[in-house]
């Protein structure tokens, strides 16, 4: 339930990027959120909508791309994408798998409106 504080961090980055590019507005934001990040996409959307009022991203669209859990097995070298939380290697059954993707919370890209042609 820490989605609001994460969104506050997102807005820090949005403001920084808007300044950097002399943008007037942020019109779209794309986040990549891992299935194992502990964050609920619906709550992130609500937090974003609540936070954006009166900011330069007031009219921005938020898109959340959910990143599946990707495992790598150090025992057999296998790679595996999982929808559940069974952390074992599909090929050799090893439990020593590493989670290489699926824990991230990343601002992937944003769309800015500038007054330059």
């Amino acid at each position: 339930m820490h989605e609001l504080s994460l969104i506050a961090s997102v807005f820090d980055v949005l403001e920084e990027k808007a300044r950097e590019h002399s943008a007037l507005r942020v019109t779209a934001v794309v986040l990549r959120v891992g299935r194992m990040s502990g964050v609920v996409p619906d709550l992130l959307e609500s937090a974003f909508d609540a936070y954006k009022r009166g900011t330069l991203a007031e009219g921005a669209w938020l898109t959340i791309e959910v990143v599946p859990i990707k495992l790598r097995c150090p025992d057999c070298g296998g790679a595996d994408v999982r929808e559940d939380t069974d952390f074992s290697c599909a090929a050799c059954g090893s439990r020593r798998v590493e989670i290489v993707e699926g824990r991230e919370i990343v601002i992937e890209r944003i769309e800015l409106e500038t007054d330059q042609p």
Partner: protein, 223 residues
Amino acid sequence: MSTKTILVQADILATNKQAAAAIRQELRSRGILAVNLLSSPGSGKTTLLEALADRLKGRYRMAVIEGDIETERDAERIRAKGIPAWQITTGGACHLEARMIGKVLGDVPAAIDFLFIENVGNLVCPASYDLGEDLRCVLLSSPEGDDKPAKYPQAFLSADCLILTKTDLVPYLPFDPAKAAAEALSLKPGLRVFTVSALRGDGVDALVGYFVEALERLRSGRA
């Protein structure tokens, strides 16, 4: 007027990770082992810290940072044991963040061995925030049920050790410590598991041994 798309690829938790890295470096250079205690509310974090205070007394020096949404209650309990304690009240936030620890760090005495950080009672959100600790311990108390590791995987996946608490209640509850441990170990092989009754003092010495070993490792690795 024109629009342009910018590839950002910024980790939203980057600021926290940087703050945590700075804390870790600072504490390691002072030779202090930091332990982050994470669990649901009421699983016995503060009671465990009281038991640790009794066991460490006269041998090692400890300090405690307490995280709660409201009140000084936990810090007062720790201070009553003669242990320096700081209370962080988050005013609603469900977890501690590294910068909150950073603000208190200057007040923590240099001559201590262990800094315990008791996170806000919550088995979900604190798992996402590195506080600069060297060890992360998840507590699971017998009344909570032995089915929790698979239900709250992030906390157990991110932990170094699992402490099964309130084991004195096991005879009265449908709680199987072996099942809880096996479930946590299937998520995180190599997780160290301890069973403790802080009220009776059972299992506390083994846990102290684990912390002392980690402290010695930290100090021997110091430049």
